[in-house]
């Protein structure tokens, strides 16, 4: 009788233990899947915006002068950050690099003021279908995608080793860099063209 009772007890304890081990392993598996999902790029489709949004940024006079002189750049990159050396402390900065491949010019602007203008090799390109004033640092991902008029994009999350909560969004000839829901970087890509036969 005693042996039977002991066996029954052990059998119950064994079941409880097996159940716990199973739950533990399942939790680990889910955690692994979650980690994998965190670093796996995915493609998304969104409904197109009904009307193109208005300009999110007002061009400076110098920028308007550049437009009159060279037109819109064929490619550009924008960097949004806070400069702790500037006055007042932690001022918001908008660094823009406008690239004119056909004109062989590259202009760097900080908060709308030209700070560098260099000659580059000229080349024939297909310009990106975006303008710098379409984007501003206040944009979240939804707004940036809407501003670019994207229907499809790829989102590549970056894990926490490099950029905490960082993510890159790729669309047609454009990339956005986000940290959390803060837009830090926009780049439009010009492509080299070939003469039609």
């Amino acid at each position: 009788m005693t042996i039977k009772t002991d066996l029954k007890k052990h059998w119950k304890a064994g079941c409880v233990l097996a159940g716990i081990v199973f739950i533990f392993l399942a939790a680990l598996f889910m955690l692994g899947l979650n980690k994998l999902a965190d670093i796996t790029p995915r493609s998304y489709s969104i409904a197109p915006a009904e009307s193109p949004p208005e300009a999110a940024y007002t061009l400076s006079n110098e920028q308007k002068g550049l437009l009159a002189e060279l037109g819109y750049p064929e490619a550009f990159s924008l960097h949004f950050y806070q400069d702790d050396l500037a006055e007042p402390l932690q001022a918001g900065m908008r660094l823009e690099i406008w690239t004119y491949y056909q004109a062989g010019q590259e202009v760097t602007l900080l908060n709308g003021q030209v700070i560098e203008r260099v000659d580059i090799a000229t080349s024939t390109v297909i310009g990106a279908p975006y303008h710098p004033e379409q984007f501003s640092e206040t944009m979240g991902a939804d707004l940036a995608l809407k501003a670019a008029g994207l229907h499809e994009y790829m989102r590549a999350p970056l894990d926490t080793y490099d950029i905490p909560n960082g993510a890159i969004l790729f669309g047609r000839q454009v990339a956005f860099g986000f940290q959390g829901d803060h837009l830090l970087y926009v780049e439009s890509f010009a492509l080299e063209g070939e003469q039609q036969p």
Binding site: I20, F24, A75, L95, T108, A121, I163, Q173, G177, F189
Partner: protein
């Protein structure tokens, strides 16, 4: 029961410890006073974006190349066709054409061997292309691409280290130069701004959109690639040198099988005389000699590149032996190439060429070469080499050579895009002028 509870407690504790270890304790950019958008984070995002687009940050050092130069889009007047299918058709046609050409040029065991190698190489290439075409018709291609992208995206493992290396070796030295230069000329400089400008200038040279090949070979349809704003693949023409000879080919087995098939009826390649074509040959009168030795100044792997200006050799000594009794052509070479541009290079080249005399002073064959790439940054103060180590690159080239009718000179060519027949159609004199010159000795 106590023991069970103790075990339960231990398991829960272990799980709690494990989970707490995997959860980040704090986010670095969560500043106490709110969110701070770091300048470096913005640049890092840009570099990560470029890295995902296929950029190799080591290539940041390539000065003077506008980014868009790297992104090539080829617009076709005709509706977009699947370039994989185009390439498949080209490879099939090329294989059929080469098969016919081999059957016309060679006989017996030699024809058998060459055809067997061709069949295996073509079969391997065609199967790989068919798989890619099949993928492109389904959704698997996109999945494969995402898997590749996911593997590439691990910044903790690679990108961050590259970024730091890039800043240390490319940005800071140039920025320091500018700062010193500006200070000497009496200008006011803001160090941080100079570093930033230099960083951006260098970073802009990253390759932009070199992703197409990866996408294409993952089977992503070309239309999807174009929709992403990436370059569409060009329907490039294919030549035989682009078809890789699979490593699995067992040359000895092929040779044995072909010899068995020949069954003594046809001469084995080892006993084939130099005169492999019909009619009298210019080498006929030299058949009492052993071999023709050609000392060539062969064009190096770097011929015509800017690496030559930076110290890489333009040519190297190459001894080619044409066995007059067997008709075989063989050569082996080794040379080192060292030069210094953005980095230091110490490459080692080894090549082995095997071919045959095809008559009327022409010979051709295939070269298998290996390049051991060793590039490094040099710490000039300590002499330390900063390098990821050696990389091995194996290549296959076809070669063709021609001997002047009076045996006064010869020429050797490799790495050309045309077929051997096209090269021959240029004529002996043209090739003797155009290709690497050789002196000739008959012994």
């Amino acid at each position: 029961m106590k023991a069970v509870f103790r075990k339960l407690f231990c398991i829960c504790l272990l799980a709690a410890l494990l989970f707490s270890d995997l959860t980040p304790i704090a986010q670095a950019s969560d500043a106490p006073g709110g969110w701070q958008q770091s300048e470096l984070d913005s640049y890092t995002l840009m570099l990560a974006a470029h890295a995902l687009l296929g950029a190799n940050l080591d290539e940041l050092a390539q000065n003077g190349k506008p980014a868009a130069k790297q992104a090539v889009i080829f617009q076709e007047a005709s509706p977009v066709s699947n370039p994989l299918e185009v390439r498949l058709r080209q490879v099939e046609a090329l294989c059929a054409e080469t098969r016919q050409s081999l059957q016309a040029s060679y006989t017996g065991a030699e024809a058998c061997e060459r055809t067997a190698i061709l069949e295996q190489s073509c079969s391997s290439e065609i199967n790989a292309l068919k798989t890619a075409v099949d993928r492109s018709r389904g959704r698997a291609g996109v999945r494969t691409f995402f898997q590749r992208l996911a593997r590439r995206i691990d910044p903790g493992r690679a990108n961050f280290g590259k970024l730091l290396r890039f800043i240390r070796h490319e940005v800071l030295p140039e920025a320091a130069q500018q700062i010193v230069g500006a200070s000497l000329s009496g200008s006011n400089v803001v160090v941080r701004r100079v570093v930033r400008q230099t960083f951006l200038r260098k970073a802009r040279q990253v390759l932009k959109a070199n992703l197409t090949t990866d996408l294409l070979m993952s089977g992503v349809p070309p239309q999807t690639i174009q929709e992403l704003g990436l370059p569409a693949a060009r329907a490039a023409s294919v030549d035989l040198s682009q078809i890789k000879i699979p490593r699995s080919i067992d040359l000895n087995a092929i040779r044995e099988q072909c010899q068995r098939q020949a069954g003594g009826e046809l001469p084995a390649p080892e006993s084939q005389p130099a005169q492999a074509h019909n009619g009298p040959d210019m080498l006929e009168k030299w058949l009492d000699k052993n071999a023709i030795y050609m000392n060539c100044q062969a064009a190096s792997y770097y011929y015509g590149t800017t690496s030559v200006d930076e110290g890489a050799p333009e040519s190297f000594d190459l001894l080619i032996t044409l066995d007059l009794q067997e008709g075989n052509v063989v050569y082996t070479y080794d040379y080192d190439a060292t030069w210094h541009s953005d980095q230091y290079y110490e490459n080692r080249h080894h090549g082995e060429g095997k071919g045959a005399y095809v008559g009327d002073g022409w010979f051709s064959g295939v070269e298998q070469s290996t390049i051991l790439w060793y590039k490094y940054y040099l710490n000039t103060q300590t002499g330390e080499h900063i390098s990821a180590g050696e990389e091995e690159d194996k290549r296959t080239f076809k070669f063709i050579g021609v001997i002047a009718d009076d045996l006064s000179r010869a020429a050797f060519c490799w790495g050309y895009g045309q077929s051997n027949e096209e090269m021959k159609s240029m004529g002996k004199e043209r090739l003797l002028e155009m290709c690497s010159p050789c002196t000739v000795e008959v012994r």
